[in-house]
Amino acid sequence: MSPTGAEFCGLQLASPVINASGTFDALAALRTFGDPVLEAFPFAAFVSKTVTLAPRQGNPPPRLWESPAGLINSIGLPNRGRDGYLEHDLPALARLPVPLIVNVMGFSRDEVAELVEAFGARDEVAALELNVSCPNVESGLVMGADPAETAALVARVRPLTAKPLVVKLTPNASDPAAVAVAAQEAGADAVSLINTLRGMALHPHDDRPWLGGGTGGLSGPAVRAIALAQVAQVAARVRIPIVGMGGVSSGHHAVDLLRAGATLVAVGTESFRDPAAGRRIAQELEEIRNRLHNSPPKSGQSRPDGSEVPANRRESPLPASGSYTSG
């Protein structure tokens, strides 16, 4: 594997940087930018937008609200459904130069099972990401917020495919690390986090929510600190690899997530600002790792006029579970 490459669940990737589901459409990019998208694909693997069993139109507009240093989206998972994806998207994605990870979501364990079975059987599909940030209509619980629900789901689908199963956690949970442990114990090959944080905006002129879907999900730089904390806490409690995401817009942010325990980093909202952000961030990440490789962090001797790193070094280890008190 090249020095800049990354190994993940048996997949050899050219870099640790992949896209976050729902924030890059390879087929639409091909129409907009042409073949260079494939010749210089900006991600080391391509994660599909969530596919559900039945086709969905998605939420009525508006679906976007710009939040301070972030974005709230209430897209509503528009997609062609399992059969539409199999028939239309998979053939068109055959030219993809990187492994394809299909993200699926079901409103019951049976629905997820059908999706895993269908996509697990296809050679084009390298791995599956289970989006558990949605309500289980039968139990009413958000699957990904409850360790038992998540364990039951993973146990249900694990036998259906030998392909890597990545469980994508929701940050809207009391203890995401407990959900990660449950997923691991039930046979998940990896976990990915964070999905968006539940958020809302009101119409500037009256009382109704702006977003057609009512509430939506917050992403972008505003959530980066939350993602870093959750990745660190999950890393302290599971041994399976982690895909870290949430507000990554530079190689420096990617390094932070890797340091916190992630094996791969996903870029989402930043691609809206810079369509080739994935490639830029992978390059920046490589430059930082080369610099670190050649000159380990200075011990911090300080010059009289403070032009260097302060001499005082605190060696407090990364806390397993953040002794977090508010204020």
Partner: protein, 277 residues
């Protein structure tokens, strides 16, 4: 949700964009009435098709305005392209347009585009009739440049101050709400008269939602083909986010990918929730 085929033959309404955003230096920034003309050098960019748009952001200080905005790039049709110089016309309505309106010669822009699908030529024998409302003039100027004398243009503005922008078009018929320039009244009044007199027109319209809806309804009544250059809330501009959808008779379509110019006959209404001001 049916989707146009991917590997369609090269679409004459679309120029494919270089992949990614690129830096472009502002070459000219001047006022045109209350609007702001912003020209930049885009040597790396191909020639766009009229009706296509770009996603723009200031390379420095894109943020720190009202509510710490802007964060996402903003969508702008191109006004004109002369050699390597690309021109935009901005209406300052919020933190993004306000930040762009501050830019001066020598400042850097982030530019992605040309994006989307522009105007389709009128069917043989039909005369192009361009209808603009306020800042909606922008893509029509580009289209006029290409159509030449065959096109006639109707423009509506709030008042004489805004109507200063009319000079960007060749010989437009003009209407202002307050009658301070051209005919008092709405541009859709001019359109109603013109369509009455000439049923061979293909209408090309751009402007605020309510005006586009009036044009759509009028064209439908007069059975005149019409293409509407529309607006909706956009995050990416290249089909990645699914945020910009508008409802059509074939279901939701991504305005940035299958538009922003849409066939009026495909629409039940040109009013898009969250668009306009």
């Amino acid at each position: 949700m049916s989707v146009p085929s991917i590997a369609a033959a090269a679409d004459p309404r679309r120029t494919v964009a270089p992949f990614g955003r690129r830096a472009a230096v502002v070459t000219r920034a001047e006022a045109i009435g209350p609007y702001r003309l912003l020209a930049c050098a885009d040597p790396a960019g191909p020639a766009p098709r009229p009706g296509q748009f770009y996603m723009l952001a200031a390379a420095r200080r894109w943020g720190g305005g009202e509510e710490q905005r802007p964060f996402l790039p903003r969508a702008f049709s191109y006004l004109r392209r002369r050699g390597d110089e690309l021109e935009f016309l901005l209406e300052d309505v919020g933190p993004g347009t306000a930040r762009l309106a501050e830019l001066a010669t020598g400042d850097d822009l982030w530019l992605t585009g040309p994006l989307g699908v522009g105007f389709a030529a009128p069917a043989p024998g039909r005369t192009p009739l361009l209808v603009g409302g306020g800042i909606g003039i922008v893509p029509l100027v580009a289209w006029e440049d290409e159509l030449g004398a065959a096109a006639s243009t109707l423009l509506g503005f709030r008042d004489a101050d805004h109507a200063v922008a009319a000079r960007l078009a060749r010989e437009p018929a003009l209407a202002t709400d307050d009658g301070s320039a051209g005919r008092p009244g709405l541009v859709t009044d001019l359109l109603e008269e013109r369509l009455g007199a000439d049923d061979g027109a293909t209408v090309y319209a751009c402007g605020p939602p309510a005006m586009l809806e009036a044009v759509r309804a009028l064209a439908a009544r007069r059975d005149a083909p019409a293409q509407l250059a529309m607006e909706s809330g956009m995050a990416c501009g290249f089909g990645a986010c699914f945020g910009c959808v508008v409802p059509t008779r074939r279901g939701f379509v991504r305005l940035c990918l299958d538009g922003p110019v849409l066939d009026a006959a495909q629409l039940d209404s040109a009013l898009v929730a969250g668009a306009g001001h």
